[in-house]
């Protein structure tokens, strides 16, 4: 993975008790332009590398902004951002990539956000307003906990914004998806449960899959430590409990192409010849899992792993 961009933290804001917004400025030339829905990978000084949606205006290349929710079962990434990151710190980021783009043929964009899933929709709203494209945002959150940007969105969107303050008011997917005009597309970002419900509800209302676009909260989770052998480079690596296999490979100087670091994009697919795998991705088919794994999220268990690297 080439072309990391050095950046400095220029601002940190506590947006809600559990969500921090971080502004980043390039130390060199202007930051790359990006499209709504893009994310960047942030390389933290503690060796963790996570992907975060860009929430700033795609036209603003002086700053990038991201928002990070404190995860209770953090492997160290979100905890570092919340407890240690300071204004003035220097970090490196990977250039933007977009695994959750706007569908350019859509006539009506229906956006569904749950909690921190609001982040990719911030530039969506900016871009759709600029294009004059019809859209609406349905936003489910817990008041005073995960209600980032609600006031700002209310000013920006007016009647386009529909709020669901859990548990008082629930997001009713059937209601949102019923009787929609033919050119409608729906986009969702939130926990896997929301996405599963969406797919099920949409299918029962006759929505074809190509109208449904989703991005899961996906990041590596901790597990048991394990060890791997690399066939071609003849190395043996130990992966600690809160480290992903991908991070362990990178720490050993073995670069594997990757974009999402959450088991969905398929870029880091790696072959293995021996060993037991705890597959945690949403990409590989059951057949493929017999010989491939996604090192960004999946881990070894039982018999030691031998990777084709």
């Amino acid at each position: 993975m080439s072309g990391f961009i050095p950046v400095r933290v220029t601002d940190i804001r506590q947006v809600t008790p559990v969500i921090r917004e971080v502004s980043l400025q390039s130390l060199g030339t202007a930051l790359p332009k990006f499209s709504a829905g893009s994310h960047i990978q942030v390389l933290l000084p503690n060796g963790k590398r996570n992907a975060y949606s860009l929430l700033s205006d795609p036209l603003d290349t002086r700053h990038y902004r991201i928002a990070v929710r404190h995860q209770e079962n953090s492997r160290g990434g979100s905890r570092y951002v919340h407890e240690q990151l300071q204004v003035g710190d220097e970090l490196r980021i990977a250039p933007p990539a977009n695994l959750f783009p706007l569908h350019n043929e859509a006539h009506l964009h229906i956006l569904l956000a749950a909690g921190i899933g609001i982040t990719p929709f911030m530039p969506y709203c900016t871009e759709l307003l600029r294009r004059g494209a019809p859209f609406e945002l349905h936003y489910a959150y817990r008041n005073c906990i995960s209600d980032a940007y609600v006031a700002q969105l209310r000013d920006l969107l007016g009647e386009r914004l529909h709020c669901y303050d859990s548990p008082q008011r629930r997001l009713d997917l059937k209601h949102v998806l019923s009787n929609r005009p033919l050119g409608s597309h729906v986009y969702a970002c939130g926990p896997q449960r929301l996405l599963d419900d969406l797919h099920q509800q949409a299918a029962s209302l006759g929505w074809s899959d190509s109208r449904i676009h989703s991005e899961a909260f996906s990041a590596a989770q901790s597990g048991q430590p394990f060890s791997v052998q690399l066939l071609r480079s003849r190395q043996q690596l130990n992966v600690s409990a809160d480290q992903s296999l991908l991070e362990a490979l990178e720490a050993a100087g073995v670069e594997v192409p990757n974009l999402c670091r959450g088991g969905v994009c398929g870029q880091c697919q790696t072959g293995y010849l021996q060993g037991d795998v705890e597959h945690r991705d949403h990409f590989l088919s059951p057949d493929e899992k017999a010989a491939s794994l996604m090192p960004c999220v999946s881990r070894g268990c039982g018999q030691p792993l031998l990777l084709d690297l």
Partner: protein, 338 residues
Amino acid sequence: MSLTFKPVGSYHQDFSFRNSEEAIQRFPFPFPEDQYMYSVNLEPATSRNPGSIFEHCFDIDEHYRSEMVERNRVLERDPRRCLVMPHMQTAAWDTLAMLMEHLSQDYPQWFALSRDGDQWQWQNHALGIDQRFTYGDADTLPCEPLEYIGRQVQGDFALLDQREGDLFMDAGIVTCPADWSLAFDAGMSFKQWHSPVPMAHQMGVFDRALKYLVNIQVGQPVRRLNWTLTINPRLDTSPETFHEWGSDRASITPGNVGSLVHLRVELQVMARLPRSNALMFSIRTYLISMDELVTQPAWAQRLHRVLRDLPDAIADYKGMTLYRQTLVDWLSQFDSQA
């Protein structure tokens, strides 16, 4: 290296196009080996070899004025060569921005761009253009943004909308295609518009290429070379005009093969358009006559072997079946082992 433009040469009728010594030296001879087979020969489009066609993302050379005259001529005759579907407006502006940014950075003696918010000023000293416009407002340009910038940059451009894990050819300006029609292929998916290419589908070339292309990131363009043969230095070898140029293939004799047969090489650059997430597919065409090519002995020898051993299906697809033997016989004089 300072860039100067040749007087306008033509790509039709009298075919006065010729390469200078320097242009021959920097010609992208596409064969790394003595035989040719399809491959996903993509590499990062990073700058290398100053003065070569690989120095800048969008190469401008001595034929710039000639090619712009040719583009205007073809567009006047056939406006279907430029097409932008309604959902590709953002991508068209993205393309204009990317080309203006690169040209003004890479060739400051010829192009200048100044911006104040969405108020832009573009100067093209090579063509005597000084245009102020509002970015995003097509009414402030003499024509649609893709056509506007396309008339000022060498090479063809196809803009591919990315959706549902596929690429769709939903916009483009194409006046020098190697036998494909934008008007016909518009709207097709990646595998659909490659449908006529023989053998490669079964080899899985397009599956691998598509997987790679949909993941190209902003600022990380890739490139490849492709090639075919063309009779006369004719840029517009489109199906639209095939009834005008197709018969040239029957005119090749041992006496004229050196001056009429041209190797045609496409430098294809694929870049992510940052605002629209569309993929720009630029196709920059270079022509060299056999007489010019054989001034480089290593190229002459290798081309002889490649063409001699080329599978018939590929030779047929590239339209050389009628004159292939004449050409191979002629080239054999430059192959020490022939």
